[in-house]
Symmetry: C2
Subunit: 514 residues, 2 copies
C-alpha cells in the first residue's frame, strides 16, 4: 500500500464517499488510489471553483464532508472563492492538495508557490505532510477537523512522494469535537428577557434554521408571540408546510434596520450579530437599531438546536406546535416575464422536497415570500457573498440528494464565474433544473452606483455593469456542455418548462429573458 491508498482507505473508514476532483500531475497517485481502494465516488469538475462549491453544497445537505482534489497552489486558488463561501456557511470540507515532491521543493519549479498562505484565509485547519507514513493519520485528523462543530474547511497538502511512497496502512477515524454545551446561564438570561419584552424577535442562524431548531423556535414563538427572522444568507433553511414561517433579514442596511426597528428585544440564536453587507456613507456597521436590547442565546460552535429546546422548556412553551401541513401553492402566473412573475412561477410549481439554491440576486426577491407556505423544501443561499456559488453548490447538493429535485435559481452575471458546473451536471446525470435569469446586466451594481449617488453613470461605468453587447445565449452555453436548454419570455411558458424539467431525469436549463 502506498501513501495515496492509505489516505483513501482512511477516508472510507471515516465515512467519506465523495470526491470532487480537478487533479493534475502531482495528484496522479491519489487518482490511481481512488480505483485501488473502493468506496469513494470521483466526480470530475472542469474548474476548481466547481469542485469546492460542490463540496459545500454536498456538506450542507449531508452534514458530512466531501473531499476535493486540487492541483498545487494555483489550482487551489481557483477554488478559494467558493471555500470562502463554505467557511461562512461553516460547511465541513476536506481539501486534498497535491504538492511538489519533498526533495523537489528547493527547485522552486514553475508551479511552486506558498500554498499555506493561500489556504490560511479560508481554512480552519491546515497541515502539510512530509512523509507517506504520517499521511493516513493526517487524513483522519483532517476529516475530524472538518467536522469539529460547527464545521470548517480543512486543508491537507500532500507532496507527491508522500503519495507514492510505501505506507503502513489506513488510520482509524478520529472523533470530531461535538457542539459546545448549552449555556444554562444564557437560557435563563434570555428567558427573563423574553418575559419582560413587549415585542421580541428571534434572529435565527446556522443550525437554528434546520428542522430541530425551527421546531423549537416555533414552540417559543407560540408561547411568547416573538417573531422569527432568519439571518440574511442562511447556509440552509427548511421551509414550507409543516415549518414555521420565517422572514429573512433584508440585504440593504436601511431595510434591515427598518425590519428590526419595531422590536425591543433581539435574541440571537445561531445567527451572528447582524452587520451591513457593505459599509455605506452615513450608515452604521451594526444592524441592531440603537437602544434595542440584544441577547445571545447561542452562537456556533454551541448547539443552537439544543439551546432553543432548552429555552422552550425554560419558558414553558407547548411541547409541540401544530403547523399547517398542507402546502398552499401560489397561483400560476401568466403574461410577461419579470422578476415577480418568475418567482411566482417557481413558487407555483415547486415540487415537494425540492432544494432551491438561490443566487438569483436582484431577480430573486419574489420567490421567497411566495413559497413560504408551499410544499416542504430546502433553501440554500450565498453565504459569503462570493458570486459563482450557485451552480456548483446546486451540483453538490444534487450529488448528495439524488432523490430530490435541485433548482439552481441563478442570476446571469454570477453564473459566468462557474458556468462549467453544467458539464458535471450532465456527466453525472444530476437532477438539477437551472433557472437562469438573463437581464443582461450586473443589475446589483447598477443599483449600487445609484446608491453611491451616481445618478447618470458615464459610458465606462455603464459598460462595466452591462452584460449585453454581445448578449449571452445561455441555451447555447448549456448545450455546449451537454445540458438541454430552452429560452422563455412568458410566465406561462416558464411554468410549463419547469414542469417538463421536473418530470425529466437529469439536468436542464431554462433561460428567462427578463
Amino acid at each position: 500500500m502506498n501513501g495515496a491508498e492509505s489516505l483513501i482507505r482512511t477516508a472510507v473508514a471515516a465515512g467519506i464517499d465523495t470526491c470532487f476532483a480537478n487533479p493534475g500531475t502531482t495528484e496522479m497517485p491519489l487518482v490511481a488510489a481512488l480505483d485501488a481502494a473502493d468506496g469513494v465516488r470521483a466526480v470530475l469538475c472542469l474548474f476548481e471553483g466547481v469542485a469546492t462549491g460542490a463540496a459545500d453544497g454536498y456538506a450542507r445537505m449531508t452534514e458530512r464532508p466531501a473531499l476535493t482534489l486540487l492541483h498545487l497552489g494555483p489550482g487551489f486558488a481557483n477554488g478559494i472563492a467558493n471555500l470562502h463561501n463554505a467557511r461562512r456557511a461553516r460547511s465541513p470540507v476536506v481539501n486534498l492538495i497535491g504538492d511538489h515532491c519533498t526533495w523537489h521543493a528547493h527547485a522552486d519549479a514553475p508551479l511552486a508557490s506558498d500554498i499555506v498562505s493561500l489556504a490560511a484565509p479560508v481554512s480552519g485547519w491546515i497541515r502539510s505532510v512530509r512523509s507517506a507514513s504520517v499521511l493516513a493519520g493526517a487524513t483522519a485528523e483532517a476529516i475530524a477537523a472538518a467536522g469539529h462543530a460547527p464545521g470548517q474547511v480543512a486543508t491537507l497538502i500532500i507532496p507527491s512522494d508522500c503519495q507514492w511512497d510505501p505506507a503502513d496502512g489506513e488510520a482509524r477515524p478520529v472523533e470530531s469535537k461535538p457542539p459546545g454545551a448549552v449555556s444554562q446561564e444564557a437560557v435563563g438570561r434570555v428567558a427573563n428577557a423574553l418575559r419582560s419584552a413587549s415585542k421580541p424577535v428571534l434572529l435565527l442562524g446556522a443550525m437554528g434554521l434546520r428542522g430541530r431548531g425551527l421546531s423549537a423556535a416555533a414552540r417559543i414563538a407560540a408561547k411568547t408571540g416573538c417573531h422569527l427572522v432568519a439571518e440574511t444568507f442562511p447556509s440552509r433553511l427548511e421551509r414550507g408546510a409543516g415549518m414555521p414561517a420565517v422572514e429573512r433579514l433584508p440585504y440593504f442596511p436601511e431595510q434591515a434596520l427598518e425590519t428590526l426597528q419595531p422590536f425591543d428585544l433581539i435574541v440571537l440564536a445561531g445567527a451572528r450579530r447582524p452587520v451591513a453587507f457593505f459599509g455605506y456613507p452615513n450608515l452604521p456597521s451594526s444592524l441592531i437599531p440603537e437602544g434595542r436590547r440584544s441577547e445571545i442565546l447561542s452562537e456556533p460552535p454551541e448547539d443552537t438546536a439544543a439551546a432553543l429546546e432548552a429555552l422552550a422548556m425554560e419558558i414553558g412553551a407547548p411541547v409541540s406546535v401544530s403547523l399547517p401541513r398542507e402546502a398552499k401553492k401560489a397561483d400560476r402566473p401568466i403574461g410577461a416575464l419579470n422578476p415577480a412573475s418568475a418567482g411566482a412561477a417557481l413558487a407555483a410549481v415547486l415540487p415537494e422536497g425540492a432544494i432551491v439554491m438561490d443566487e438569483a440576486a436582484t431577480s430573486g426577491g419574489a420567490f421567497f415570500p411566495l413559497s413560504a407556505g408551499g410544499p416542504p423544501h430546502t433553501y440554500l443561499s450565498l453565504t459569503g457573498g462570493a458570486i459563482g456559488q450557485g451552480l456548483p453548490c446546486a451540483t453538490g447538493a444534487a450529488v448528495a440528494s439524488p432523490d430530490r429535485r435541485v433548482i439552481a435559481f441563478q442570476a446571469d452575471g454570477s453564473s459566468m464565474y462557474t458556468i462549467q458546473s453544467l458539464w458535471t451536471q450532465a456527466r453525472e446525470s444530476l437532477n438539477v433544473t437551472t433557472v437562469l435569469c438573463n437581464n443582461r446586466s450586473y443589475r446589483i451594481l447598477q443599483v449600487e452606483l445609484a446608491r453611491a449617488g451616481i445618478k447618470e453613470p458615464g459610458p465606462k461605468a455603464r459598460s462595466l455593469t452591462d452584460l449585453g453587447h454581445p448578449d449571452l445565449d445561455f441555451t447555447s452555453l448549456a448545450r455546449g456542455m451537454g445540458v438541454p436548454a430552452v429560452r422563455v419570455d412568458r410566465a406561462e411558458n416558464l411554468v410549463l418548462e419547469l414542469e417538463r424539467s421536473f418530470a425529466t431525469p437529469g439536468p436542464s436549463l431554462i433561460e428567462l429573458m427578463l
Copy 2:
C-alpha cells in the same frame, strides 16, 4: 476630487491606459472615476482570471503594466492562478482591490477575508491604504513597483471610503528601478569559458528572447558556434525570418537532459538554472547533466540584452549577422486532422506579425519547429504552469496590439478554466483566432498516469482524465458568447478556415476535432 479620481489621474500621468475589470460594490467609486478622469480604457471581464491573464498578455506585448480592478479577497482569489503565471513571466501588473471601508473592517462582514495573505504568494509589492489622502501617492508607488526590473505584480488594496473621501489631487509618476548593471566579471568569465569550451550552449530566457537579446545571441553564435536554446516556457519569444533559430528546452526531464547532454558548457542568459517541471521517482530536480560546466552570464533583474551585447563585444563577435529575411512557409497539409497536421496548417498560413499564444499542450508540439523559418511572429507561452492562461493572455495581447492577429492555440481542457475570455474578445472586437484542439481528454494526465507506471488505469482514473461523456461543443460555447465558430476535422479545411479568420476583423473560434 475624491480618492478614486486621484488614483485614476495618477495612473494616467504614469502612462497607464488600460484597466481589465471585474468590479463589485466596494469598487464603485473607482468605476465612476474611470469616466471622471479620461485616459483609461475599461475592459470588462466576466471572470477575474480573465482580467489578470489579460493584464499579463498586455504587459508581455507593451512592456508596461495595465490595471486590474478586482472585488475584495474572493474576487482577487479568482485572479490568482493567472497572476501566478504573470509572476513567473515577470510581467508588470497593477492590481487594484476594493476592500471594506476602514470603519467597517471590524464588523467582519460576509465578504471580509485576509487579502494580504491571499496576495502575498503572487505579489512582489503589496500595500493597503488607510486614507484617501495617501491613495494617489500609493498608486504612483504601485505602478513604479510593477515596473521595477525585471517586472512584477503589485497589489494595492483600497478600502472604499478611501475611494470616495476627498483627496488633494494626483501624484507625480515615480521612477521604476532599471535593470541591474551588467557584471563585467561575469562577461569576462563567460567569455573565457566559451573560449575553452568545445561544445557550448546559450540557454536564453526573459529579455534574452526578445529582439535585442536575440540579435546579440546570434552574433555570439556566429563567433563561437554555440547552440541557442530557449527556456521551456518563455514569456515572449521573437521568432521567424530575421531571427536566429532557437530550440526550446523540452518539457519532460528525460528529454531536457538529453537535449543538454551533448554540451560541455551551459551559459545561462536570462534563463533560470533549469529544473524539472515536476519531480519523478529516479529523476533529478536539476536539468543540468552531471559533470557539465554551467555559467551565469546574467539573471533578472540584470539587463540580459545588454549582457549579451557586452559578451558579443568581449569575444569579438561580428557587429551584425545576416539572417534570412525571407519567410519560408511550411507546406499546406491535407488529410486527417491530428496534432501534426494541425501544427502544420497553422505554420503554413501564419500571418506576418502574428502573436501566437500557445496553450495547446499535448496537441501543440508540431507547430514550433515548423514555424521557425516562417514569417516574423511573437510566441507567448504558459510561464507558470497554471492552465487557463491561454485565452486571457491572448485577449490582453490583442488589446495591446490591435494591428496584429493574435492566435490562441489552445487545448480543450485548459480552455475551460477561463472560457469566459471569448465574451470579452467579442465585446471588444479583438482580432483573436482561437484554434481549439478538442481531443476530449486531459491527454497530458493520461501521459502522466502512464509515466507513473499505471499501465491500465481503473474506471475512476480514466474518468478523471476524460473530457468526453458528454463531449464539449466549443462552437456552441463560442456562439453563446458572441464569437463566430466553426468545427473542422480535415487539415485542408483548417487551412481554409484559418485564412478566412485572418481576413475577417474580430474574433473567431475554430474547433479542431482531433
